[in-house]
Symmetry: C2
Subunit: 404 residues, 2 copies
């Protein structure tokens, strides 16, 4: 595992030391990237062996030198679809806590323990909370979590079960972020929010390494990524850059397709308007809870990457997300998260409008398990709980039978 | 992939052909095992390569010759615990549909498609339903599922989302089984119930291959297995026998520890009484839904294996299961299923009473994701839904905040 050379600001390229757990650029508040000595890395970093670690730590040679807090995250399956062998689903549901958030939190909590931090805090649209709570529990570190009060129940319950301090907020993730920000100094919390520290990106970058390795060290034509905070997309782009420097992959980088929900589409709006940053999206609302981020901190990075890559930003209405979710569950046997189903819907959209061809090789990220959204999917489908007195009406069920 | 030589009855050793999809022994109704030509297998079967398939199909050389219906099941992580490096958790939550049931259903539905079946039916305590529904959807086969009406909501919702025909029954899995049995002939359903066909065992046996491979082709001292229908335990024992015949492993087989819930403990009762079969367990009740099987079809096999192995059967009260679930979530960062937590509780019990020593190397199966039991875990913890009007009282939360 390589030493960190320095942290670099994604906006003003300011370089600072990694002697302590830094937050954002002290000059311009830009998000920080971890940088290594590339020449040294070329000598030490090696592509993982086929029989190596079955977790994201198989890429230890390009990750910070730290003792990992691991629950078996990463190295998730890449599944060719039944409908078209050029569509690969990257199934992040198999991660600990059921989502891709595990990768970032495994890395960030490992670094928090390394730097001796005792109390971590974060706002969350849902899944980051569960992941933070789990890794903090594994590391013996306190977690303080603020979530909108209407997050999926699974997100709430897991936070509580892992022993985190969970506070529900009558507002959006932006309100939660403000509360963390207001209290952190007094409480002695380290703010581990999306892109307000450099290591969650560093964990998420392993998604980029993995998809390239799983495609035999080649790039696909496009990557579909449901984009709330956008850390995964940012991390993958960083991975591609590093892999090219190391000579692990060559060729044209994939078009990066950022997917948002129409009910909360700040990046899509900025993209269409040709803007370099987004505006706060008012009255954000979507059942894809992870996409309910009305003003992503890394909007400027996301927009830059999408444009550099020749990709695009698509926003999908909730009804279309649900249709695609049911399409994939009934025809592929995969219960996607609403965020993942937004991405599969976006694929259909971009085939329909000719942006992509069916022969293009694409990787679509299902960022989490549909099982974490049982209540929201049920509500969207109009299915009621079977142990309530009201019977399901809109679904093909046989009713309740009382045996004689 | 080897040809099937014949099917063998687990009770009377009757041998029948595998020319069609058989159910149980036509002579004595015993469960059937798949048998291969051992001498031929010795020439063709090979230990999987480290870089081979990252699913249970890495063991294709010892599985029936079939085109797999696969969603990426198996090859799940084996995680050393934080409390004791001799305790390994076999994390089946990472399977498609979040449980170990995926292995058996991947195999059985593959065979169903191979034999040209069009309609499958099964009773389920919950998780088998989700797995059957998913694999049937992937294979384009009809699924008819009967579940107790108080199954975890996730099990109900996933069945419906995958497009299965789901009927809720005001009774136990035994009532559901009776209904399938009564209707199957008229409806043209193939009954894919636990141990009433030979291929779910054949899929589940991969758990035995995996744990041995993951321990560098050695046996642990004991295997802890939450036992409802017991197919996994039966499958693992079959795997051990096959691996020994192939020379893939040697040494003393592990003690097999079958774990039940005290509220539904037919096998534990039979074991204590020295009986060879179990009696119907009246008024079965436990929040570990997968253990609510009041009279397992393979009770005679389970009891025989436990005794042969020098293991034991333990039953755990629901309160102790919940304590262990919270212990593992708060100290290990793993949200176990109630069934998995029954197994971790059983470990503590057998250390306390001296049956095992802390230096013994053990593998504990977490058969499913705690996330599938959100409603039941919440109820057991006394946590209410955050979007209800009632606030959580028994848990350390910060309450609901309305931003100014």
């Amino acid at each position: 595992m390589p030493a960190i050379a320095y942290l670099e600001c994604s906006r003003c390229q300011n370089q600072i030391s990694a002697n302590k757990y830094e937050t954002v650029c002290p000059k311009c508040a830009g998000a920080l990237y971890v940088r290594y000595d590339t020449e040294a890395l070329k000598k030490t970093a090696t592509r993982p062996e086929p029989g190596g670690s079955q977790s994201m730590w198989r890429y230890a040679s390009v990750l910070p030198d730290v003792s990992p807090v691991t629950l078996g995250e990463g190295w998730t399956p890449i599944l060719p679809s039944r409908r078209n062998p050029n569509i690969f689903l990257k199934e992040e549901a198999t991660n600990p806590t059921g989502t891709f958030k595990a990768r970032g939190m495994s890395m960030a909590v490992s670094m928090a323990r390394h730097y001796g931090l005792k109390k971590l805090a974060a706002p969350s649209a849902g899944n980051a909370a569960g992941a933070l709570a789990a890794y903090a529990a594994a590391a013996g570190i306190e977690a303080h979590i603020f979530m909108p009060k209407d997050v999926p129940f699974a997100n709430y319950l897991e936070g509580v079960a892992y022993g985190a301090n969970v506070t529900l907020v009558d507002g959006l993730i932006s309100d939660c972020a403000r509360i963390v920000n207001e209290r952190k100094e007094k409480e002695g919390w380290f703010d581990i929010s999306t892109l307000k520290e450099p290591f969650r990106v560093e964990g998420k970058k392993t998604m980029g390494y993995e998809l390239v390795e799983q495609l035999n060290w080649t790039y696909p034509d496009a990557v579909f990524y449901p984009t709330g905070g956008g850390v995964g997309l940012i991390g993958m782009w960083k991975a591609f850059e590093e892999m090219e420097q190391l000579g692990w992959v060559t060729g044209k980088r994939p078009k990066m397709i950022a997917i948002q929900a129409s009910g909360c589409a700040p990046v899509a709006k900025a993209y269409k308007e040709g803007a370099n940053t987004s505006q706060m999206f008012e009255n954000a609302s979507t059942f894809a809870a992870g996409l309910r981020v009305p003003k992503p901190y890394g909007d400027y990075i996301i927009l830059d990457i999408v444009r550099q890559s020749g990709g695009t930003v698509v926003d999908i209405p909730d009804e279309t997300i649900l249709d695609s979710l049911l399409d994939w569950s009934r025809d592929e046997g995969l219960l996607l998260s609403p965020e993942g189903a937004a991405a599969t819907a976006a694929y259909d959209h971009l085939i329909e409008n000719g942006f992509l061809k069916p022969r293009d090789k694409v990787v679509i990220f299902n960022t989490g398990a549909g099982l974490k959204y049982v209540d929201m999917i049920a509500e969207a489908m109009g299915v009621t709980r079977p142990n309530s007195t009201k019977l399901p009406e809109r679904v093909p069920v046989g009713g309740i039978i009382t045996p004689q």
